[in-house]
């Protein structure tokens, strides 16, 4: 079992996400994270799926995803062959702000992106290990709320999606 990133290049078609996710559901495989967005080509969407599975299984998942009529291309990568990033938001009560927290923010390269009378919101982008580390620390500062995005990723390989879209 290993962590893989699956990229799906697809037509923007109602229900496409559903068709993709039922392939995982059928095999009882959990999706660790999923993000969907429009690609740089109009009308073409790009879905990034993070999954922990054996390579054999991932190959079959990718083949079955690619078989979906409106999917243009699907492929997978190991962590080493993608550049990826996640974003995390942390809501902290103002009452707990002190010098210690300031140091933590500096050390982790986090940003304060909102300050309200009762709370501040910190933002950190990075890999899951980094956002997780900050999460553990902030639990000691009365963390009110936490949210983390799925992975956005680009492949290191020099291939553009234009080559799949003819």
């Amino acid at each position: 079992m290993k962590r893989y990133t699956i990229f799906v290049i697809t037509e923007n078609f109602i229900g496409i996400l559903n068709r993709i996710t039922i392939i995982f559901t059928r095999r009882g495989i959990n999706i660790d994270a999923l993000t969907a967005s429009e690609s740089r080509l109009e009308g073409i969407h790009r879905i990034t799926i993070e999954v922990t599975a054996s390579e054999d299984t991932v190959i079959q998942l990718v083949n079955q995803i690619e078989k979906i009529i409106d999917v243009i291309k699907a492929f997978y990568h190991e962590d080493e062959s993608v550049v990826y990033q996640e974003i995390a938001l942390y809501k902290i009560p103002v009452s707990r702000l002190d010098g210690g927290l300031e140091k933590i923010i500096r050390q982790h390269n986090a940003k304060i992106i909102a300050a309200e009378p009762d709370f501040v919101v910190l933002e950190l982008t990075g890999h899951k290990e980094q956002t997780q580390e900050l999460l553990e620390i902030l639990k000691g500062y009365g963390l009110l709320e936490f949210a983390r995005s799925g992975r956005v990723a680009v492949a290191k390989r020099m291939l553009t999606i234009d080559s799949f879209v003819k």
Partner: protein
């Protein structure tokens, strides 16, 4: 509004006509009524068959598609009409049958509001369709139907569902039909790689005991001639899967029999003795492979397959030859040597003789009192036409009929293979017969399965489709009973049936019927049935507790195939 504008419902019907649909199967209801209204104007161009249940409509469309090679079409209303199609969709999906199913849907402004007969059929049918779509605007109807037909028939075929809201059917729009010729996200033609052919040919030319397995892909790819030519040249023995039957005449000298749980003895057992295994248009169903850990481990596997998702899905192959087997078989035939394997073939013959003595003769020419299913099929073989179509349901009778029916022509086999849908046979036989009234269509069915869709006798009555129905009645859910006997200590839990008087039922539908209980009456009854002009119902009371052999029990290896 311009004069050239027509209703969405008319666009539906005219699109079907533009796709050369000749016959459709369906059942009306609220949300599809505009389409039914339109059908009224086109009945000289498009024949509609009213089944007695939507499941009957879709199975009929499947039977029609399997026999004709065309896209089967069925229509149903929203809600329960649409959900009644699901079994047929799942069946067509797993058996790669091209279908276009059109369902009515509540008006678009009611979508998502739990309106009367509203159901999310696009959501429900998603895992059971090759493609589906909901159409809410009149201008999207014709393009959706064009795309639907293209997707259903091209590549690896499959079922398509098009859900059309009622307002799209009643609104007016222009009708300019253009057939779909392809689109960027869907590749249908995969050119065969020369290098794969060379690698495959190298393995085959080196082989001492090569063995070819063929499946329905040969029929779907219309590669029957190419298969025959390849076998003629290479001399390689060949065995068929359930749905492959018919792709090669059983009279062909290289044909060694059938694969799978209830296939023939030699083809199963010798899978584990070949050195090169060539799989053509088949997907290594678990009913074919038995225990995978002990399946053909000694062999180098060559897989000729159109669907990339099937490669290495179940059995890892040495060489994958992607593409239509029509192309790959003919390229491969050019690349292999003329050869013959007399010693290897003799092994098949030796085991076939054993099976013949232990299983086949007692099945076909029994000495005990009770009638066997096998002897019924044997008698049918004596009188049937070469191109007779055999439609079967699911269970013991299906396996027996498949084992003993003498397949000579492509597209003469219609059965529910992957899904194992009881209730399939009667409506599928109707659909097969609707394609061509001049062909013999023999529907072999059990007493369990027929009662799942017995209402379609009404459709047979109304259409006068001359289907020959052979009910093999053992008053049991026979296959389940066999398993209970073999693996559940003979605890016959809910498998015995108190059955109605089937002959009376058939006669109530105005279908000529006869019941045979004695061996002496069988031959004449089958002759009577096959020469009868019109539908015929023949009930044969068979031995209650006969079992189907050979058998590969669940969890066993192909080499553990049992003769008793």
């Amino acid at each position: 509004m311009k004069d050239s504008m027509i209703r969405g419902a008319d666009i539906v019907v005219r699109s079907l006509i533009a796709e050369n649909a000749e016959i459709i199967f369906g059942y009306p209801g609220g949300a599809i009524m505009p389409v039914y209204d339109a059908l009224h104007d086109y009945h000289d161009q498009l024949r509609h068959v009213l089944t007695r249940h939507e499941q009957g409509a879709i199975h009929a469309a499947q039977g029609y598609a399997r026999v004709s090679g065309k896209v089967g079409v069925c229509i149903a209303t929203s809600g329960p009409g649409a959900t009644n199609l699901i079994t047929g969709l799942a069946d067509a999906q797993i058996d790669s049958t091209p279908l276009v199913c059109i369902t009515g849907q509540v008006a678009s402004h009611l979508l998502g509001t739990d309106a009367f007969q509203e159901t999310d059929v696009v959501g429900i049918s998603m895992p059971a369709t090759k493609w589906n779509i909901q159409v809410r605007r009149v201008e999207d109807i014709a393009p959706a139907i064009a795309k639907g037909f293209y997707i259903a028939k091209s590549g690896r075929p499959g079922p398509v569902l098009i859900d059309i809201t009622k307002d799209a059917q009643t609104n007016f729009g222009e009708f300019n039909y253009s057939k779909c010729l392809g689109f960027r996200s869907y590749r249908t033609h995969i050119p065969v790689e020369k290098s794969a052919i060379q690698e495959a040919a190298f393995l085959i030319n080196m082989a001492k005991r090569p063995y070819l397995l063929f499946g329905q892909g040969v029929v779907l790819g219309e590669a029957e001639e190419e298969l025959k030519a390849f076998l003629d040249k290479s001399g390689i023995p060949a065995a068929s899967t359930l749905l492959g039957s018919g792709a090669l005449s059983e009279d062909h000298p290289n044909y060694v029999g059938k694969l799978g749980m209830h296939g023939n003895y030699a083809p199963n057992l010798l899978t584990n003795q070949c050195d090169v295994l060539i799989a053509v248009g088949m997907r290594f169903d678990d009913r074919v492979t038995g225990d995978l850990k002990r399946y053909a481990k000694q062999a180098k596997v060559i897989h000729l397959e159109l669907d990339p998702a099937e490669i290495n899905k179940i059995v890892k192959c040495e060489v994958a030859v992607l593409g239509s087997c029509k192309d790959s078989l003919s390229l491969l035939a050019d690349a292999v040597n003329v050869n013959a394997y007399p010693d290897w073939m003799a092994k098949f013959q030796e085991l076939a003789d054993q099976e013949n003595a232990t299983v086949i003769q007692p099945d076909l020419k029994p000495t005990k009192a009770g009638l066997t299913m096998g002897e019924v099929i044997h008698q049918i073989n004596q009188y049937k036409a070469d191109d007779a179509i055999l439609v079967t349901d699911v269970g013991q009778h299906q396996m027996i009929a498949w084992r003993y029916f003498n397949y000579k022509k492509p597209r003469t086999q219609v059965t529910s293979g992957g899904l194992g849908t009881m209730g399939f046979a009667l409506p599928a036989a109707l659909g097969a017969q609707m394609y061509d009234f001049s062909r013999q269509v023999v529907c072999v069915v059990g007493d369990g399965g027929i009662q799942m869709t017995i209402q379609e006798l009404g459709t047979i009555m109304q259409t006068k489709a001359p289907v020959k129905i052979v009910l093999l009645n053992n008053n049991f859910l026979g296959m389940v009973r066999q398993w209970q006997q073999m693996f559940f200590d003979k605890r016959y839990s809910f498998t015995e049936l108190d059955n109605p008087d089937f002959v009376k039922i058939a006669e109530a539908y105005n279908i000529q019927a006869q019941k045979v209980t004695e061996r002496g009456d069988l031959q004449e009854a089958i002759e009577d049935m096959l020469i009868h002009d019109g539908p015929y119902f023949l009930e044969v009371v068979v031995e209650k507790e006969d079992n189907v052999f050979p058998m590969i029990a669940t969890g066993c290896s192909v080499e553990e195939v049992r003769l008793s």
